[in-house]
């Protein structure tokens, strides 16, 4: 275990060094995460004459700034990395190392968080300045935010890992991820708050994993749940994490059996 922790710490250091090496490109890429701001502009205009489904202009501002913050802090891109490595055959070199490739990919994604923080910090400042009144007043919600953000990141990462692993059998699975992303953008509350959907969709979103990738941490920041509800949702989120973890392991094992290691 100590060996694994030492290795993971080195992965994080190397990942951070890579993120810093790409600093300009990285920051530009971060700024491309601007969909919540576009949606905020649209919904703020719609709410000018009065609240929409309970959201005032300030309510929308709080929601979308929080959504932007969650997206910035839970970003993952492993599916594209896996697809590229499988197609170019460089995955072979990773597989020759006595450490599971998922560990290094996860560290690469996590180690970008300090760089992400550079963009996220001003968002926090604006959120506190513009919509402080809309934020949760109960410290318990903020306490749960840490595991909720970690859970959201894990879900996003593991879904990508599962879909990327399908590339071991089909050479590329990025189109499958695009399809997932379509559902996710809608049902996670990234584009539109789940409260604005018809009741049937709202209820469905409580049992699907998408909500736990974004909407749930946002709702915690906005104090939408009682302590009991927030805890049971956290349990549901981490149950999904456990399921996805098991699925990743199974898909990976199966994929390796069929891996053709094309190229070179």
């Amino acid at each position: 275990m100590r060996r694994l922790l030492r290795t993971y710490a080195q992965f994080l250091r190397t990942g951070f060094a890579s993120a810093v090496a790409y600093r300009a490109e990285f920051l530009i890429w971060m700024f491309s995460t601007n969909m919540p701001l576009v949606m905020l502009a649209i919904w703020a205009a719609a709410a000018r004459s009065g609240p929409v489904a309970g959201y005032s202009q300030q309510g929308f501002a709080a929601y979308y700034l929080a959504a932007l913050l969650v997206r910035l802090m839970t970003g993952a891109w492993v599916v594209w990395e896996m697809t590229m490595e499988i197609r170019q055959g460089t995955l072979a070199l990773r597989l020759l190392r006595p450490v599971h490739p998922m560990l290094q990919w996860s560290a690469d994604n996590l180690s970008a968080i300090p760089m992400r923080g550079i963009v996220a910090l001003p968002v926090v400042g604006i959120l506190l300045w513009v919509a402080r009144a809309e934020l949760a007043h109960d410290w318990f919600s903020w306490l749960l935010l840490c595991p909720a953000l970690l859970g959201a990141w894990l879900l996003y990462f593991l879904v990508q890992a599962i879909i990327g692993t399908l590339g071991l059998r089909f050479e590329s699975a990025s189109s499958i991820f695009e399809a997932w992303l379509g559902f996710s953008n809608v049902l996670s509350g990234y584009l539109v708050p789940i409260d604005l959907f018809p009741r049937a969709v709202r209820e469905l979103s409580l049992v699907l994993p998408f909500r736990f990738q974004l909407s749930y941490p946002v709702e915690l920041m906005l104090g939408r749940w009682s302590r009991g509800e927030a805890l049971s949702l956290l349990a549901a989120q981490w149950a999904y994490v456990a399921v996805f973890l098991v699925a990743t392991r199974a898909v990976w094992r199966n994929g390796l059996r069929h891996y053709a290691a094309y190229g070179g």
């Binding site: 080195q10 072979a92 006595p98 070179g264």
Partner: protein
């Protein structure tokens, strides 16, 4: 150290003719066929042995290396490397092997090679003392000193390959799979890499299985060669024995003080090359002694050497014989 027993690796490949019609047809119905990349080969390599693995493109060399290094599951047969079954990919196995592919790199592109060394130190859990000693040794053998701090993307191909070799050997593997390690390198860098592989093999007693299209690599490094064609082993034995068997003729290379008539050379054997002050004649083993004596007595020689035919020609003949059979 390395054992393969009746190893087979078949791929299922989708085939379709060119053109739009075939592309649309393949959307609904696909034709697959099995390609026998490796077809029933057996061999054994001892600890410390250096073996050349030769064959034309698509013969199955790289597939075999990938099975031996645990990247691919064999379709049939049994494989054992350092006492492990490679495709089970146990930590103990991965700690003992390395695969260097001349066309792939594990160095981190935007960071200096020293960062990849640190990464591999953590991955292979190399104790600090051993890491420092190995790195110092590799740095000296490969003259890496000035390269360690430069971003990998700014290194030349030869400099990158030297660092690739160093990073691949940092954990002191006992089995080296080298797939075209000198591809694209200039002659002096090829010689450096060859010298380094030999030095590592002698220093650590590691087994080496090398594929290369540069026959100089094989001639300089491998007393034994295995030749594979269309997935099947067509030769396994000594390199000199292979040359004797496939091309028993010798090459007599002559340096002359003045130009001579072609017919004077034809009296020695088959003329391969005839320039102003240089000529090469092919002579059978039996006629060699007489041909050399005749050349010494009748030609204005400044130098005479007797050589085996180039390995490239030996291989070409071997594959041609195999296909004709």
């Amino acid at each position: 150290m390395i054992e393969a027993d009746r190893l087979r690796k078949w791929y299922r490949v989708h085939r379709r003719p060119p053109g739009l019609r075939a592309a649309i047809h393949s959307l609904f119905r696909r034709t697959y066929e099995d390609v026998k990349a490796v077809d029933d080969i057996s061999f054994s390599i001892a600890a410390g042995e250096r073996v050349g693995f030769l064959g034309p493109n698509g013969a199955g060399k790289t597939t075999t290396l990938k099975v031996l290094s645990g990247l691919l599951h064999p379709t049939e047969g049994r494989v054992s490397v350092a006492g492990f079954t490679p495709h089970q990919r146990e930590r103990g196995f991965l700690q003992q092997i390395t695969l260097v592919m001349g066309q792939k790199q594990q160095l981190l592109w935007d960071l200096p090679p020293s960062e990849t060394f640190l990464l591999n130190r953590a991955i292979y859990d190399i104790p600090r003392k051993q890491y420092d000693a190995t790195l110092a040794e590799l740095t000296e053998l490969l003259d890496l000193g000035p390269l360690l701090g430069k971003p990998t993307r700014q290194l030349s191909l030869g400099e990158r390959m030297k660092c690739e070799l160093a990073v691949a050997l940092l954990h002191r593997p006992r089995v080296l799979f080298l797939d075209e390690p000198t591809i694209g390198l200039d002659v002096s860098m090829q010689a450096t890499v060859r010298g380094f592989v030999r030095a590592y093999n002698e220093r650590f007693g590691a087994s080496v299985l090398l594929t290369s299209h540069y026959m100089e690599d094989v001639a300089a490094l491998c007393p034994r060669v295995m030749v594979i064609d269309k997935g099947r082993m067509i030769y396994d034995g000594g390199l000199s024995e292979l040359v004797r068997r496939v091309r028993p003729d010798k090459r007599v290379r002559l340096r002359l003080s003045r130009q001579v008539e072609r017919r004077d050379l034809e009296q020695l054997g088959t003329v391969i090359e005839h320039l102003d002050a240089e000529a090469t004649v092919q002579v059978s083993q039996e006629a060699l002694q007489a041909a050399v004596a005749r050349a010494l007595s009748s030609l204005p020689l400044t130098d005479l050497t007797v050589e085996d035919p180039p390995l490239e020609e030996v291989m070409r003949d071997l594959f041609a014989q195999g296909r004709a059979a």
